[in-house]
Amino acid sequence: MIELPTLGWQSIVILVVFGVSLLIATYCTYAERVIAAFLQDRVGPDRAGPLGLLQPLADAVKLFTKEEFFPAGANRALFIMGPCLAMITALMSSAVIPFGNVIQFGNNVFNLQGIEVNIGMLWIFGIVSLGVYGVMIGGWASNNKFSLLGAIRAGSQNISYELAMGMALIAVLMISGTLSLREITLQQSVAGEWHFWNIVKQPLGFIIFLVCAFAETNRTPFDLPECETELVGGYHTEYSSMKMGLYLFSEYVNVFVASAVMSVLYFGGFNFPFQYELRDWFVNSQGWALTSAQNLISVVGLLGLFGKIFAFIFFFMWIRWTLPRFRYDQLMRLGWTILIPLAIFNILLTGGLILGGIIK
């Protein structure tokens, strides 16, 4: 049953998650440039504000004041719809991610999560799959060969890698037995028992998932949809102004969501080592109430999850400025002949280990 305080709380959380996603995406543009610069022995943006921290603001002003360009022969409605769709789908998927454990005020218990649904993982997969429409529609509506080629590449790449990604996920679901992200998170740390994060049980599955996440978010080394050496700018060749900005933004929001999903599925989400011992210590030795100790643990866990997410975002960028882009046939071969068989093997392996009682 959804009651009024819960509904109000959910709207607040969703608004906050929305804002935080956008803020992180904004500062991802800055972080990307600084990390790229450091990896290449350069300085990076340092002119706008202290340490260049106002750079995203300057970029936004620049993007907003650019000319709105519509190519001749473009389908105007679809041309506008493309980036909107990309942005909407990117933002929607973060609604079900459990960012923290429960927080209790008096008798009201609140989840640090937008919506708790028992099909959270399916929701994310469904929405992320819709994201390819933003790219496809934008590329097709541009009336440009390069855009269309980029869009086709994006479509086939996303479909190919979603298969391996889904199968890597199935192995996780076999262990957890639930699609709810909160359940999956809680299972990775149960009070009083010695539990491992899923990365220990699913190392191969994690690597497959990670590679597919790179492909799904169109990041290097799988950024063929916007491969500038071959396709000018790929699907967003004809885009300018904030429509272009929305495409770039949606990529960073996708990176954020992918990092969050990987943290939740494989790295224990908002759990951190010895959290229950810490809570009990506060209750027993310091004389705290159980609720306030739990609230503290939840807040620390929230920060911990964001730490994991930032580590993953850094990893995304680190990879981007290290590896060159794959060729398109290499990309397809990797997806279909290596990752999918590996994922199937991983499912069989997991099933065998569960039957043998080695992992549960």
Binding site: A37, F38, L39, Q40, D41, I207, W318, T322, L323
Partner: protein, 196 residues
Amino acid sequence: MQSLSNRAKKLEVKPMTLAERAYLPAIFQGLSITMRHFFRAATKKQITIRYPEEQRPFSPIFRGLHVLKRDEAGRERCTACGLCAVACPAEAITMVAGERKKGEEGLYREEKYAVSYEINMLRCIFCGLCEEACPKAAVYLQADKMAPPRFERDEFIYGKDRLVEPTAPDARSARGIQLTPEQAAALAQRMAQQSA
């Protein structure tokens, strides 16, 4: 084809090993290389020179923007003999000579002086031959100042207002016209020769 020099090396294309085909070891190697660069950039001093705040030091023999020197009494040294204009391979220097009137002894060192003296910085190749040709040690190329970029061509024609060394030492430093130690030593030496 047979090798003539016997230096040709036979290249063998070996099939890739499993580690090479798996990509991952090579990826980790690349990641470690970039991470080393990341920490070097984050911890050590960066090699980048942030231009407007930091400037690369000029070479001590750098030949930059010209200056028309004054003598120790503040009088213009130039006597408008035209030797610099003759020496100039780019024909960047023009001048008009005039005779010093009574009461102007504090302004000009010699009886003849340059009424106007212009150097076209777009023509000038900064070879320093004018400096070598000058018998009065009047024209010098500063070692620490360049002709700044401008929007208009005529702004590159420097007249006496911008060439002559200012009288007040403060004004001199504000305009950045100063001699390097080497130039100061050379000037002192030439002045000593002249008085001898």
